[in-house]
């Protein structure tokens, strides 16, 4: 792999690990949702780094298409998670 690919691929791995750690450990719900999004960005970075072929070379379009799909899936999941969380805060149990 090219140096550029390495730099970005390793950063992707790091983002993934950072996101995973917070998704498991952060006490607040909102940050856990953000953490899963950061994980996703890490995977996307890995994919885009794989697709890169060097300056002036056309990159592999398939990972680009996969990441586009992934971004849309991520926003759908985030929207549903936030709606569920809003419903929870709106209706605290009356014990």
């Amino acid at each position: 792999m090219l140096t550029t690919q390495w730099l970005y691929a390793l950063s992707g791995c790091l983002l993934l690990a950072l996101g995973l750690r917070s998704a498991l450990l952060h006490p607040a719900l909102l940050q856990r949702i953000l953490a899963i999004n950061v994980m996703g960005s890490g995977v996307f970075m890995l994919l885009i780094a794989i697709a890169y072929r060097g300056p002036g070379m056309p990159p592999d379009p398939i990972p680009h298409a996969l990441v586009l799909t992934g971004i849309v899936v991520a926003v759908s999941a985030t929207a549903l998670a936030l709606a569920l969380a809003r419903r929870l805060t709106r209706e605290q149990p009356h014990d």
């Binding site: 993934l16 995973l20 998704a23 719900l29 856990r32 949702i33 899963i36 994980m39 996703g40 995977v43 890995l46 994919l47 794989i50 398939i62 990972p63 996969l66 799909t69 992934g70 899936v73 759908s76 999941a77 549903l80 998670a81 569920l84 969380a85 419903r87 929870l88 209706e91 605290q92 149990p93």
Partner: protein, 478 residues
């Protein structure tokens, strides 16, 4: 014959759209399309049985550049189970949701879930599998939260986050495999994948993600609250089908795509987790106070059996002996699917008629709800694994293989698990057959009781008596 592959995805998706646009005739639409989907699943099974594995290249592009749908004996049998269980649960749901506004919200999501299940079973492409996993996860969560009760929404939110974590890990594996082999097509990958860090890492990550989704002990913590607080027809398909979809993928990856990569040690690890699930899940089911929680913990235990025998499968050399054992595993999955769906539907009737599902207060239920109680008893027969249920056949094959290869641990765990299952089932029946007067006005609706009864009958009688065909189908369809 390949038309059935398209129909199985296009029918439920089209029906979902129509149910969204025409809420007034949605119920009729669901029943009609359910019949059509079941017919397609039968056609697919027939095709696979006569012509062997089928595939269809979407858009006419060769697999790799495009996406291929694939079906073999295993996926065709599971697709038929999905069709039958979803159809029965649809009939049940048409009576379960009283208000038209509830049904208007329910049907489109229900059909989207059906689409996701079929698409997942048919997909022959790694990234497409990720998309189907997300579709399945989101539709399952939306349905689980449908009652809007605090406990249900809380459980659904946790279910969603765990599911997203699982699919994210799966996606990392997909990215890694694309980096290593520049293909997403499962069939191509099967041929080119080589033992090495890429394959090992990818398999580890994907398996871990899927185990989270299939709730294998000790990753099962999210399942009992989610399955225990969803509406009854939703609990039925979550327990019977949705967790099975992730199990199917693990099976596919371990026995097909990564067959040369997996090691006995890794399989033993899965077996140990499965053993933990059987013992812990059964014990928790025995201690559960509510029927629905009992059923949910029983799902944790029954999923354990599916992994318990992984080491056994991999200890057998590929060939007839392994195929027989694999058939036993598929039989367990099928029987559990039918029995657990029927059990949850029956529990739903009890819950609606009594206003609660506390096991302690079920005394005398049999007098008012005889058919429902009978369905619960039949489901119990299958969960324990008594003859003539399919579970009995499956366990018989697997235990014979375990004895033949000298793997006594798995035999012992199966024996203890079956005893515990008998204990928790007889605990329910003991209360239900009690002499106390049943305090509730219970009028059962045929549209609710018959689906539960037919599903549990399928698990105990049909699968048990016609079991041999499952092995033939798996063999013909490979």
């Amino acid at each position: 014959m390949t038309d059935a592959l398209i129909a199985l995805v296009a029918l439920p998706l089209t029906a979902a759209l129509l149910a969204l646009l025409l809420p007034r005739i949605a119920t009729a639409l669901v029943i009609f399309s359910g019949l059509a989907i079941t017919a397609s699943a039968i056609a697919l099974l027939y095709g696979v049985n006569t012509a062997g594995a089928l595939h269809y290249e979407l858009g006419g592009w060769t697999a790799g550049l495009g996406i291929a749908l694939r079906a073999d004996g295993l996926s065709a049998i599971l697709l038929l189970m999905i069709a039958l269980v979803m159809f029965a649960a649809s009939v049940y749901a048409s009576a379960y949701f009283g208000k038209a506004s509830e049904r208007a919200q329910f049907w489109p999501l229900w059909l989207l879930l059906w689409t996701a299940l079929n698409a997942l079973l048919l997909s022959g492409d790694l990234f497409n599998l990720y998309v189907t996993l997300e579709l399945l996860g989101l539709s399952a969560v939306a349905l689980a939260a449908l009652s809007g009760k605090h406990a249900a929404v809380q459980a659904a939110l946790r279910y969603l986050l765990v599911g997203l974590l699982g699919s994210m890990l799966f996606l990392v594996g997909v990215a890694l495999l694309y980096a290593g082999y520049a293909t997403l097509d499962l069939a191509t990958l099967t041929q080119v994948v080589k033992p090495g860090p890429i394959a090992w890492s990818a398999l580890t990550l994907m398996t871990f993600g899927l185990l989270l989704k299939t709730a294998l002990f000790p990753l099962h913590f999210w399942l009992p609250p989610a399955h225990g607080s969803a509406p009854a027809p939703v609990s039925a398909v979550l327990s019977a089908l949705v967790v099975k979809a992730a199990f199917y993928l693990v099976l596919r990856l371990w026995l097909d795509v990564f067959a040369d990569i997996v090691t006995p040690t890794a399989a033993n690890l899965l077996g140990v987790l499965g053993a933990g699930a059987v013992l812990w899940g059964s014990w928790q089911a025995l201690r559960a106070e509510r029927l629905k929680l009992l059923a949910a913990y029983s799902t944790v235990a029954q999923l354990g059996y599916l992994f318990l025998f992984f080491p056994l499968l991999l200890a057998l050399p590929p060939g007839p002996a392994r195929d027989v054992a694999t058939g036993g595993l598929v039989m367990l999955a099928l029987t559990h699917g039918f029995a657990k769906a029927g059990l949850f539907l029956a529990i739903g009737i009890v819950q609606q008629r009594s206003g609660h599902d506390n096991i302690q207060e079920l005394g005398g239920m049999v007098q008012r709800l005889p058919l429902t109680t009978f369905a619960i008893a039949l489901a119990g027969v299958a969960l324990i694994g008594l003859p003539p249920s399919g579970t009995f056949l499956g366990k018989w094959q697997l235990i014979s293989a375990a004895i033949a290869t000298g793997q006594w641990l798995w035999v012992a765990v199966t024996a203890i698990g079956s005893l515990l299952a008998a204990a928790y089932i007889f605990r329910i029946l003991g209360h239900a057959f009690g002499n106390q007067p049943y305090p509730h006005q219970a009028v059962a609706v045929a549209r609710e009781e018959w689906p539960a009864l037919l599903l549990t009958l399928t698990a105990t009688l049909v699968l048990g008596l016609a079991g041999a065909h499952v092995w033939t189908l798996l063999e013909n369809g490979s």
